[in-house]
Amino acid sequence: MAHQMHAYHMVDPSPWPLTGAAAALLMTSGLAMWFHHNSMLLMTLGLLIMLLTMFQWWRDVIREGTFQGHHTPPVQKGLRYGMILFITSEVFFFIGFFWAFYHSSLAPTPELGGCWPPTGITPLNPFEVPLLNTAVLLASGVTITWTHHSLMEMNRNQTIQALTITILLGLYFTALQAMEYYEAPFTIADGVYGSTFFVATGFHGLHVIIGSTFLIVCLLRQIKFHFTSTHHFGFEAAAWYWHFVDVVWLFLYVSIYWWGS
C-alpha cells in the first residue's frame, strides 16, 4: 500500500462541490422564478439540495478528521486559516450594510425630513428588548468560554451543560428578535430607515441561526465523544463564529438601535 511522505490531507473525490453548485444555480434562478413567475418550486428544490449538500459534506469532514485521523497538526492549521478568512469575509459583508446605514443616516435627505430617524418613523426603544438581547448575547459569550475551558479541563458534564445554556441563550435571542419584528411599528418598506434596519438586523439574525445550528452540531458531537481535550477545532470554529455574531450585534445595537434613535 502506498504511503504518503507528508502530513497533509489529499481529499478523496467527492460529489458535494458539484451538488452545491447545482443548488446555487437552482436557488438563484428559483429566486427569479419566484419574483417574476409566481413559482417557488425551483427555489425550494435549490434550498433542499443546499441543505443536503451541507449535511453530507460536513458529515464527510467529520468522518475524515475524527474517525480516520486525517486532521494532523498542519491540516488543522489550514482549517484555522480557512475559518479566520471566512469570518473576515463575513465582517466585510456586514461592513457594507453599516456603510449603507451611515451613508443615509449621517446626511438625511429632504425627502426624510432632513432628520434621523426620518419623519414618521418611531424607532424601537433601545433600552427595552434590544438591551435584553444585548445582555443575552453577552451572556452567551461567557457561557461559550466556560464551555471551552471545561472541554480543555476534560470535564464532560460541565462542557455539555455550558454548551446547552449557550444554545438556549441563542434561541432566546432569536425568539425575542422574531417577536420584535412582528411587533415593530415600521416595516422594510418604510423608506431607507426600514431598508437599512431590516436588512442589517435580518442578516444578523440569519447569522445567529447559522451560529446556533453550528453550536447544536457541536453539542451532538460532544455528547458522542468526538472531541478530545486538545483537539476540538470544530468547536473552536463554532466559538469564533459565535463571538463574531456577538460583536456584529454590539455594533448594530450601538449604531442602529441607540445612535440611530
Binding site: 511522505m5 498542519p74 478530545t228
Partner: protein, 124 residues
C-alpha cells in the same frame, strides 16, 4: 446563580486556577478523552512520532546548518540520491542544481557549501 457562574469562569481564567494535571486515562476521570486515548490514523502517527522527538512527515521547519565541512547541510532522502538546489546568496535568482549522492558530503559548485545525504525512513 449568575455570580457563581461568573466566579467559575474567572477562576478558570486565572493562571493555574482550577487546573489540574491532565491524567493519561481521562475518560475515567472527567469524561472527555485525550488525544493519547482517541487519536487515530495519520494524526496518531504524527503525534506519537513527535512524542519520541521524531518528524517522519517533515512537519517541522528544516534546521539551519552552517554548511561547513564540520556542520554540513543535512539532506534527508528515501533514495540513495536527491536533487539539491543551492541559493548561494539570499535573493539569487540563479539556483545551482546538482545531484547529491549517499556517502561523503559534496560541495556546491558555485559557493562551496557542504551538503550531506542522510537516509530518511519511509513512514509506515
Amino acid at each position: 446563580m449568575a455570580s457563581r457562574l461568573l466566579l467559575r469562569v474567572l477562576r478558570r481564567a486565572l493562571p493555574g486556577g482550577g487546573r489540574t494535571a491532565a491524567p493519561a486515562r481521562a475518560m475515567s476521570v472527567g469524561g472527555i478523552p485525550s488525544d493519547e486515548e482517541q487519536s487515530t490514523g495519520l494524526e496518531r502517527k504524527t503525534l506519537e512520532a513527535m512524542k519520541k522527538g521524531q518528524d517522519p512527515y517533515s512537519i517541522l521547519k528544516p534546521k539551519g546548518y552552517a554548511g561547513t565541512r564540520e556542520d554540513p547541510h543535512i539532506v534527508p532522502s528515501i533514495n540513495k540520491k536527491r536533487l539539491v538546489g543551492c541559493i548561494c546568496e539570499e535573493d539569487n535568482s540563479a539556483v545551482i542544481w546538482f545531484w547529491l549522492h549517499a556517502g561523503e558530503s559534496q560541495r556546491c559548485p558555485s559557493c562551496g557549501a557542504h551538503y550531506k545525504l542522510v537516509h530518511h525512513d519511509v513512514p509506515h
